[in-house]
Symmetry: C2
Subunit: 178 residues, 2 copies
Amino acid sequence: MRADARRNRERILKAAREVFAEQGAAAQMEPIARRAGVGVGTLYRNFPTRRALIGAMRAEWTAERTANLERALATTDPWTAVTEYVHRGAEAMSRDAGLREVFPDLPAKETTPEDEAAFRDRLTVLVRRAHDAGALRPEVTAETYNGMMVGLGAAITAGTDWRLAADILLAGLRATPT
Amino acid sequence: MRADARRNRERILKAAREVFAEQGAAAQMEPIARRAGVGVGTLYRNFPTRRALIGAMRAEWTAERTANLERALATTDPWTAVTEYVHRGAEAMSRDAGLREVFPDLPAKETTPEDEAAFRDRLTVLVRRAHDAGALRPEVTAETYNGMMVGLGAAITAGTDWRLAADILLAGLRATPT
DNA sequence: GGTCATCCGGACCCGGACCTCCGGTTCCGG
DNA sequence: CCGGAACCGGAGGTCCGGGTCCGGATGACC
């Protein structure tokens, strides 16, 4: 693969993230190519279809979330791990606001099934540790937790300050000391 | 206005709610007409444009939320009012899941500015009362509150049980007793 | 029951967005 | 330095969905 080809691929992905973040799911291909300083032909050579482009973005997104999760898991205290992951997630959401609404369009399993599974595994560990420490509300499963993270993203996209939103969610997730 | 015309208008609105709830923002006009048992011509006579149809749905939605808010305000205890409104909202969201994602597309002020303002006023009252009673986290404004409700809707759409999600949110909103 | 205005329905436009294709250009092995 | 292969760019093709229009039917008033 030629050097400029790889460079173009990166520029396209970067431009796609920006345009999707600004315009949401309705973002079009031609403006993405323009912002990348590239023709649509080049865009379609790297990503044969629109869904493929979104899929590549999703792969990066999942990788980033998984990395955040692992950094959080490195913390010894289970509840600190939870707060850290929620904060990192909230920050990432506020950065890529509009991006969030395009991923539900394509089924998660279609593009990166193994990455998605890896993410789920880590998340399950995080939740179980917090449960064992008695820090997390017992009804909250990994599914629930993930769903609430999606909600957190929507709240942030709606304009809520991400620190405040994260604090509220964390307070709600914390087990009530009996 | 002829009797069947009014009946058709109602049937179209009902069908639109259903189809939008199922398909999300990508829902198309022709399936809506089919489900209403009506041709597209009739649809466009009642709602001259797609945005107008969505606007009408939004008007109904705002009216319902305002009604919920007023019922909640009738409660004497300020915190009970908050919990009641959140629960009603969560239930409504779980009913009209996909509907939520189509409203951000058109600016709120465009269609029903006065209804929207009335809703905001009621919401401000709800929040102030809860603050005065020391029940609500002091940093939470009406804006924040509304944003968190949007997030709640997203979490529910993502598959979280609405009762659990509402409980988590409420626990997070509650002022921490010092 | 007759007449006419109103309404219904679906067969057509039309614009726009995704995708293709080919001539010109740029980078690597000999 | 040079041949060629890979790559770039943008002008279209195609399809699809929102919106129009007119012949036929239907309901209201006398």
